[in-house]
Subunit: 169 residues, 2 copies
DNA sequence: TAACGGTGGTTGAACTCTCAACACCAGCGG
DNA sequence: CCGCTGGTGTTGAGAGTTCAACCACCGTTA
C-alpha cells in the first residue's frame, strides 16, 4: 500500500482547477438559492425531482436516489419542507414500511418562483463561459466520473461479503 | 426580468451530468477523508495550503482566500484544528488586528498520513477514468468557470456603490 | 487628537449534514 | 407460526456551515 501514484505537477494543476471551480461555483449557486428563495440547493433539487415525477409524488427511497442525497438527509430535509407546507408525506399503499412524498401547490409555487434565478445563474456561469465543444466535453467528463463512482460501488459490493459497503450517495 | 433564457433539453442534460458528477464525487471524497483521517475535506485543504506556504504559516485572511473558505468558516475550522494540536495561532507582527496560522509538527504528520488515501481516491476517480484530451479540457473548463465567477465579482463591485457585494467565497 | 470609514477576525445562534442506532415491516425458511 | 434476514425510513447527537452582528485596529481626514 506504500506505492502511491502521486500526481505530477501538471496533474496537480488540473486537479486544482477542477476543485477550485466546483467548490467556488457550488458555493455561489447555493448562496444565490438561499438568498433569493430561502432554501439550500439540496432542497431545490428535491422539489425539482418531485415536480418531474408522475403525479408529483415519489417514494422516499426513490426520491433519495434521484436527488443525490442519503436517506437520513432526505428525512431531515422533507421534515423541513413539510414545515414550510411545500411537501406532504402519506403512507405508501401496498407496503406499510414506505412513505410517499408529494409536492403541494405551495411547493410548486415556491419552485416556480425559485427557478428563474437559478437557471439564470447556471446559464451565466456555465453556458455563457464555455464553448460548445467544452460543453460537449463537460457532459462526457461528468458521465465518466459518475460511471466510475458507480462501478466502484458495484465492485465493492461484489468483493465484499461482509456488508456495509458505504456506497449510498 | 421576465425573459429568462431557459435551458434546452440538451443543455439540461449537460447540466445534470455536471451536477450529478460533482455532487457525487465531492460526497465520495469527503466521506473518504472523514473515515480515513477524521477530518472533512475543507480541513484537509487548509492543512495543504498551510504546508505549501513559506515557513508553513499564513495570515488568516490569506489562508481563507487560498483555501476557498469564508472568514467565518476559517475561524471555526482553525479553532477546531487548534484543539487537535494541528495548527497554532500567533499574533501577526506589524498589524495588531491580524493573526497568523501556523502548521505544527503534529499537523504536518496528520497531513502526511492523510495524503496517500486522498491522492489515490483522486487518481482512481478522475485521472483513471478520463482521457488525456478530457483532462486538458477539464482544466480549461475549470479555469473558465473560475474566471467567470471572478469577473462577476469585479462587475458587481464596480457598478454597485452601495457596498455589500457578496463576493467572498 | 479625535472622528470615521474600512479591514481583520471572532462569536453565537440557527440551520444543515453525517453517523450510528433504532423501530418497523416484508419476505422467506423452518 | 416463529424467527431471521434485509429493506424502509426515522431519530438524536455531534459536527460543520452560514449569517448577522460585533469588537478591535488601521489609515485617513479634519
Amino acid at each position: 500500500m506504500d506505492d502511491v501514484r502521486w500526481l505530477s505537477a501538471e496533474e496537480q494543476e488540473i486537479w486544482r482547477a477542477y476543485l477550485s471551480a466546483t467548490v467556488a461555483f457550488s458555493a455561489h449557486i447555493d448562496r444565490q438559492m438561499r438568498q433569493d428563495s430561502g432554501m439550500p440547493m439540496a432542497y431545490y433539487e428535491i422539489l425539482v425531482r418531485l415536480s418531474e415525477a408522475p403525479h408529483r409524488r415519489l417514494r422516499m427511497s426513490e426520491l433519495a436516489d434521484v436527488s443525490l442525497s442519503s436517506r437520513s438527509r432526505l428525512s431531515h430535509a422533507v421534515a423541513a419542507l413539510e414545515r414550510n407546507g411545500w411537501v406532504e408525506r402519506r403512507p405508501a399503499d401496498g407496503d406499510r414500511r414506505g412513505w410517499v412524498c408529494a409536492l403541494t401547490e405551495d411547493g410548486y409555487a415556491a419552485l416556480a418562483a425559485a427557478a428563474p434565478g437559478h437557471v439564470t445563474t447556471v446559464r451565466e456561469h456555465i453556458f455563457d463561459v464555455l464553448t460548445p465543444e467544452q460543453l460537449q466535453s463537460l457532459r462526457d467528463i461528468g458521465e465518466a466520473i459518475s460511471a466510475g463512482l458507480r462501478t466502484e460501488c458495484a465492485a465493492a459490493r461484489a468483493e465484499d461479503e461482509a456488508g456495509a459497503d458505504a456506497c449510498d450517495s
